[in-house]
Symmetry: C2
Amino acid sequence: MTTTPTTPLTEKQTTSVIKRQKTIGYAAHSPETPLAPFSFERREVGPRDVQIDILYCGVCHSDLHTARNEWQNTIYPVVPGHEIVGRVTKTGNEVTKFKTDGLAAVGCMVDSCRTCASCREGLEQYCIPGFTGTYNSEDKILGGVTYGGYSKTIVVDEDFVLRLPENLDPAAAAPLLCAGITTYSPLWHWNVGKGSKVGIVGLGGLGHMGVKLANAMGAHVVLFTTSEHKKEDGKRLGAAEVVVSKNQAELDKHLESFDFILDTVSAAHDINLYMALLKRDATLTQVGAPEVLNVSPFSLIMRRRSLAGSLIGGIKETQEMLDFCGKHGITSDIEMIPIQKINEAYERMLRSDVKYRFVIDMASLEK
Amino acid sequence: MTTTPTTPLTEKQTTSVIKRQKTIGYAAHSPETPLAPFSFERREVGPRDVQIDILYCGVCHSDLHTARNEWQNTIYPVVPGHEIVGRVTKTGNEVTKFKTDGLAAVGCMVDSCRTCASCREGLEQYCIPGFTGTYNSEDKILGGVTYGGYSKTIVVDEDFVLRLPENLDPAAAAPLLCAGITTYSPLWHWNVGKGSKVGIVGLGGLGHMGVKLANAMGAHVVLFTTSEHKKEDGKRLGAAEVVVSKNQAELDKHLESFDFILDTVSAAHDINLYMALLKRDATLTQVGAPEVLNVSPFSLIMRRRSLAGSLIGGIKETQEMLDFCGKHGITSDIEMIPIQKINEAYERMLRSDVKYRFVIDMASLEK
């Protein structure tokens, strides 16, 4: 996710000299080279900033796409990571929401224009000039590019820092910051709740969160997977039914019955199979991003169905999601790795060999 | 539009002997042969039926697709026509809404199950077991198949007959029964009104009605056409702006600005050009039916946009549309033809050589 830099720096920012501090992390220096140790600078804490010692960082598919320049927008060196959980080590003198030693979290955004219609509605993810991504975005304060959570520390304006419920395992909570909000936001926006019949397509990092969250919202959850062996796990995670989508007869039992379907699959797949399962006026929302979706217009027209998309979630909504997860005891199923295994983890992700999210134990950085 | 016959006949219908009367029309007997005169039978007027002497019948692209079996579902011989305006010549003794000699109209449906959730909501076009199409559907009363409006008379249950406002030219009003309602229904459903910025893609039979109706609803209408020479006509019909969609710079002026876009184009085209013009949370609705729509997921995801479809409209809504057209003096721009020119008209439609709808003067049938 890149942003188009259009917001001018404020006078205060441009005239004051921004102090810097050193930190360390892991960066990719080219599409072909493995991630490796990297020293770089963060800004010193400003009046509204929170400095966080990163404990855990989830590993998102976007990290891999960006590290390898698969979206043709990477600025090297790149420090990926936008599922960040840590402990507050310092706060600016105007900060009111965070205190030293408390847990805090940072997701996919560290700033936005704050003035456009989307920002004013708390939907910073749809910021019209473009939000500042946690990595690979223009750093409007320090100059250069933003660096993400595969690192020791991060400094973020408190408006873009989240409170983490104390009852959640902080490592397993890290993936909530992207995989969690990416699935929570559309489920919430399209009114999933008690009595809804909801389909989740795909059981990966996003899909397994979708199953847990939709189930906690009170929906009857049907998981669609191409893998027969994922049936049991789907049920354990909260699906009332698991349908192997290669089996047309199984799909046909669900024709025209869903209130909402969340499609988390990034690989090429036939969404018309799932469109046919929606009720009249219902929506299938795509959060994975295959290169192209080949849609049969008849599946839309004959039942006034909609195909939509959704991007992460706003800051207010992300906090609501974390509080919801705190209340329901929801975290991600994770496999913890040291940062030294990040390149191997990327290879395993490409083989879907992870249940269901890698999380980096950032203490490993100094080993 | 075909229906799956699942509603059983009522006891009354199956035990009574349905009387028949002869009529004449034009039918296709195979995909390759031209339409030609055809004698067939209608039922005699039952207690709830209205018999209509057809004055005018609009020529819809569906007629051509069905006559030539392009949807692989045609039952021959087929009498097309579902934009029917005529004069009532006889009514059953339980009919309350129509009187002999009054004007009446029939659109794409002549019956539905009347009991499913869609029918109960007045959305018979989405009848779950399937509505009875005006032609090429199972005739559940007489047996065999329904025959459409390229004919002298038709007999229809009064619940599926519409009142035509007396101030409208009945010939030019005929296309309202399909082209009119197909565009009115989505404009209404997606809340087009005063202050909306609405795009209409394509200036054919559907598109020209979309421009007129959206303009009458109070919207700022932008017509998208590939034909430079249609600019003037677009403005005459009610578009505030006409954009030649081959010109990317013209499109770019409208990025992220539309509340709603109605896409009426049936030929293959790149809808991503138009998706990018929608505001956050806005919808593009397809009423034309290209074989496949190739959608870029990013255009959906980055602004939570929707791509939807819509099918004609319910009976109640069709009456509201006719009343709206009466109030605003809206009809179709038509070219009148005798039935003997129907095959030539089909060829001209394939070349888009009609402004903007052919209407058959049914008096020609007996010449």
